[in-house]
């Protein structure tokens, strides 16, 4: 069950309520968006690493040295 805690810091009153349908839908949307972003980042990082490996092979430099050129 998804619950949300509301804290009124003036009165120290705490209320736990269940999430509304809209809130659950928003969280699901954020989770899907996040998963897509993560996949994109991992793919971009993999491509970057592959490119660095190629440059290292072609140049004779180490991957660490190639990396340092781009920082």
């Amino acid at each position: 069950m998804s619950e949300f805690l509301e804290i009124n810091i003036e009165t120290n009153e705490e209320i736990i309520r269940e999430l509304t349908v809209d809130e659950i839908a928003e969280l699901e949307s954020l989770a899907a968006e996040q998963a897509a972003e993560q996949a994109n980042r991992e793919a971009a990082e993999a491509a970057r690493q592959a490119s660095i490996r190629k440059m290292a092979e072609a140049s004779g430099l180490t991957e660490k040295e190639i990396n340092a050129l781009f920082i």
Partner: protein, 205 residues
């Protein structure tokens, strides 16, 4: 002359005359007044604790009645634990309990401690903004707010010592909101737990 143990404030001797009591009280009070002023750096300075507490087993937490005209600047310190692993912790401001679900503009920058991965995120009129990332434990988030009750500026730094050792910096503002009174934090999946401390900066000396 008798004095106190720690600060050496002058107090009356047992043999002092009763008729000198008023002067003795003024002398002691004046010494205390001076010490307090020097120790605190001013008459009304420093951080004022507004809330200290913890939470667990919930999808999100909303803090209400936090911001007002009393303080212009605030500090929030969070130690958050996420049950779902690698995911951002989202946040948004609230206006008298109603979430402000638009108008967030900002940018974040994330790097691993080893420096092998860096990327940035931009927020362009989004419905919330994310602290990236939280993991199972040891996610420390500290953020500073300027004038959330009038105009909106929001700064944060997030130091994360989870499984991937990521560090994030972020700045976010909201151009369209007004009179924010609180804020929500929530995770897109799983539950969160943690501790929170909220402070207000005194406005004047």
């Amino acid at each position: 002359m008798a004095t106190t143990t720690n600060y050496g404030w002058e107090t009356p001797d047992d043999t002092d005359l009763v008729k000198d009591g008023a002067l003795a009280q003024r002398t002691t009070a004046s010494a205390i007044d001076t010490s307090l002023y020097n120790i605190t750096g001013g008459k009304n300075v420093g951080l004022v604790p507004l809330y200290v507490g913890s939470f667990s087993g919930v999808t999100g937490v909303g803090f209400s009645n936090v911001f007002s005209n009393t303080y212009q600047f605030y500090k929030v310190q969070l130690q958050v634990y996420g049950s779902a692993g690698n995911q951002p912790l989202y946040a948004r401001f609230t206006e008298n309990g109603t979430p402000k679900s638009s108008g967030y503009y900002g940018a974040s920058y994330v790097a691993t401690v080893s420096g092998t991965l860096t990327y940035g995120d931009a927020y362009n009129n989004t419905s919330s903004f994310g602290f990236r990332y939280i993991y199972g434990d040891k996610n420390y988030i500290n953020f500073e707010l300027a004038r959330p009750f009038t105009t909106q500026m929001f700064l944060t730094s997030s130091i994360i010592d989870g499984s991937q050792n990521q560090i994030a910096q972020m700045s976010v503002s909201n151009k369209t909101g007004s009179n924010f009174t609180g804020f929500d934090i929530f995770a897109p999946s799983g539950n969160i737990a943690g501790e929170v401390k909220i402070y207000g900066y005194r406005n004047s000396l």
